[in-house]
């Protein structure tokens, strides 16, 4: 019986979760991913990643500072945002958000503090006046630097990094769970959702670090640490394969099961999401970087500059892949009517409160903040880079 005719419930003409809710998992994904990369060195002791460990940690912090801004912009009553901490309903998947977020924030801030303590003390001694006073507050008026404090700092960094990995996974996996546990939504409701979110977070974290690292080093004409970049690009290649495979396996199992939800979801994939899902997310931005990264990883004799360019290009493409994946999940899921009989429309608008220009600014601000952080916590080892 043909029953596909484009009916949506009257209340579904409005999309409830806009592009702001697309940005939130996108930014937290980079937060979690970058943190996990920094832990590769701090906790797992991958010496090759030492040059980017601090940079990854500070990047994670810069994104973390802005992760909640899209959410606040989206809330109908942003002034009541603290209700989520004051009167949490623990039956709700969303209620833990504030606590997980705060725990994670504390861990990241502490880990940065321990990582930069000696640097801060050095700067405290070099500066004078008001700057010296500010540094004295940051270092808590403790100027001890010796073998023991160095050991202790190191121990704390390993402990916090180790603790941070599960919290980062929870922070982001749980965003996936938030979507995956909505039984009313055909496109979201899958237990795979939070696993997909964790892996896509690591992909976006690695991608943003490589992308920025290569871009900044190219702009400042600094020497690129090829070992780190090669290792990171291999990790990126591996994780993107897992992430994309999981995304495809999910569709495959829905499609193969042929339950009633496939009757409508196949029209979603071939209709409303044809360009953003099939052509862009899966086609151009998954298969493209996969081929490029396969070349850079497997073909050793490639010219170094050309290889770095390919790595840079594919990490940029993967950043877009993850952005499209968030869009296709968050918006795509809401386009399907719960009546299973049709689709609604959505375009965010340019100048709206939750429009494209605001979104663009929101994505840009963490990068500007990161630029400012470079002054405060220098994360690229410039002397070493220049000497090489």
């Amino acid at each position: 019986m043909e029953s596909f005719n484009g009916f949506v419930f009257p209340n579904e003409l409005h999309i409830t979760w806009t592009v702001m809710i697309v940005l939130y998992p996108y930014i937290t994904g980079m937060v979690a991913g970058a943190f996990i990369v920094s832990s590769f060195y701090h906790v797992f002791g991958m010496e090759k990643l030492k040059p980017i460990a601090k940079y990854a940690l500070v990047s994670s912090f810069a994104f973390l500072c802005f992760a909640t801004v899209p959410l606040l912009n989206h809330l109908g009553r942003p002034t009541r945002a603290f209700n989520i901490l004051l009167t949490p309903n623990f039956n709700s998947a969303m209620s833990g958000f504030g606590f997980v977020y705060m725990t994670y924030m504390v861990i990241v801030v502490l880990e940065i503090w321990f990582s930069y303590r000696e640097e801060f003390i050095k700067r405290y001694h070099q500066s004078d006046g008001i700057v010296k006073f500010i540094y004295s507050i940051i270092i808590l008026r403790n100027t001890n630097v010796n073998e023991n404090t160095h050991k202790y700092d190191k121990k704390m960094i390993v402990f916090l990094g180790g603790l941070g990995i599960p919290i980062a996974c929870i922070l982001h996996g749980y965003v996936g769970f938030l979507f995956g546990s909505i039984k009313a939504n055909l496109w979201w409701s899958t237990p795979l959702m939070f696993i997909i979110f964790i892996f896509s977070a690591i992909v976006s974290g690695l991608a943003v670090l490589i992308f920025l690292y290569l871009f900044v080093h190219w702009r400042r004409k600094l020497k690129i640490n090829q070992d780190s970049i090669d290792l990171m690009s291999k990790w990126l290649w591996g994780f993107m394969i897992i992430a994309v495979t999981l995304e495809l396996m999910e569709i495959l199992s829905i499609s193969y099961e042929r339950t009633e939800k496939w009757a409508i979801l196949q029209h979603l994939i071939n209709g409303k999401l044809k360009v953003s899902y099939l052509y862009l997310q899966i086609g151009l931005f998954s298969i493209g970087p996969f081929i490029l990264l396969s070349i850079t990883t497997l073909y050793k004799r490639l010219n170094v500059n050309f290889r770095n360019f390919l790595i840079w290009l594919s990490s940029g493409m993967l950043l877009l892949q993850v952005l499209f994946m968030r869009w296709n999940v968050v918006i795509g899921g809401q386009l399907v009517s719960k009546s299973m009989r049709g689709f609604t429309e959505y375009f965010p608008g340019f100048m709206d409160r939750e429009g494209l220009i605001v979104s663009f600014l929101l994505i840009l601000t963490p990068f500007i903040l990161l630029r400012a952080f470079d002054k405060l916590f220098p994360f690229f080892d410039k002397e070493q880079a220049l000497n090489k």
Binding site: E2, E12, A81, N91
Partner: protein, 253 residues
């Protein structure tokens, strides 16, 4: 007794007695009204479990309920606490469903020019589920079950995150664009507290909407549920709706 036979004294006596009776009576009535409880206590409310029956075989799609609800509850334009869907199935078994503006202006034109084999209307509203998905997901606990079995929203507490809108499988919730909080059918809670029926039930000219106390064995709704065969919307989701549909067609989701 003829009025002309009453002497003046007797007349004054009667007048005095009756007016003092009115005075005492009204004093008693007023004092009683002051003592009368405005709100029922928690234990009183536990004697109720409000349920709803929609008889789809009786609905004629006039949209009176939608209009009554809009006026009673100040529902913003293009949002609906209740709406009516029209299903039309033609000879080739093609199903067309529509609900133009929630059937606020009823239904004007047919979907099919000819050969309509079967057609019916289905009014929809919040199902006030026993295991409601919307109250489960509310992060701040602003969405809750009242002791008398109505799913309500505390609009002074709601943050407007929209998670409940996503969680409701029936599309019954929306974010009020003016207040920025979630909103939905309350079964006209302000009316049912005083023993009145919800506005949509009052407005229905065909008695297609029946409302009553599921805990009262003598209530009309219990009788109907015992006598008729009914269905639930999306029963597989385990929400246990308390809105029972008589004559529910398999096409209705």
């Amino acid at each position: 007794m003829n009025i002309e036979n009453i002497d003046r004294r007797r007349f004054l006596q009667l007048g005095l007695l009756s007016s003092s009776g009115v005075l005492v009576g009204s004093l008693y009535a007023f004092s009683n009204r002051e003592v009368k409880k405005e709100f029922k206590t928690y234990d009183d409310l536990r004697h109720y479990d409000w349920g709803y029956v929609v008889d789809t075989t009786r609905c004629i799609g006039c949209g009176s309920c939608v209009r009554a609800c809009k006026i009673e509850n100040n529902v913003p334009d293009t949002f609906f606490r209740t709406w009516v869907e029209r299903y039309e199935i033609n000879k080739n078994d093609v199903v067309r469903v529509d609900s133009p503006n929630g059937a606020l202006e009823s239904f004007q034109n047919n979907n099919f020019e000819k050969d309509v084999e079967k057609a019916f209307f289905v009014p929809k509203l919040c199902n006030h589920c026993i295991n409601s998905a919307c109250t489960q997901v509310c992060p701040v606990g602003a969405s809750f079950h009242s002791p008398d079995g109505v799913v309500l929203i505390d609009k002074e507490h709601c943050v407007g995150c929209g998670y409940c809108v996503q969680a409701c499988p029936y599309g019954c919730r929306y974010i009020d664009p003016v207040k920025g909080t979630a909103d939905k059918c309350t079964l006209c809670y302000h009316r049912i507290q005083h023993g009145e029926a919800p506005a949509c039930v009052n407005a229905c000219p065909r008695n297609a909407r029946i409302f009553g106390n599921l805990k009262d064995p003598k209530s009309k709704i219990r009788k109907i549920l015992h006598q008729r065969r009914y269905g639930l919307l999306k029963p597989d989701l385990g929400t246990n709706p308390k809105c029972y549909y008589i004559g529910l067609d398999r096409e209705v989701k």
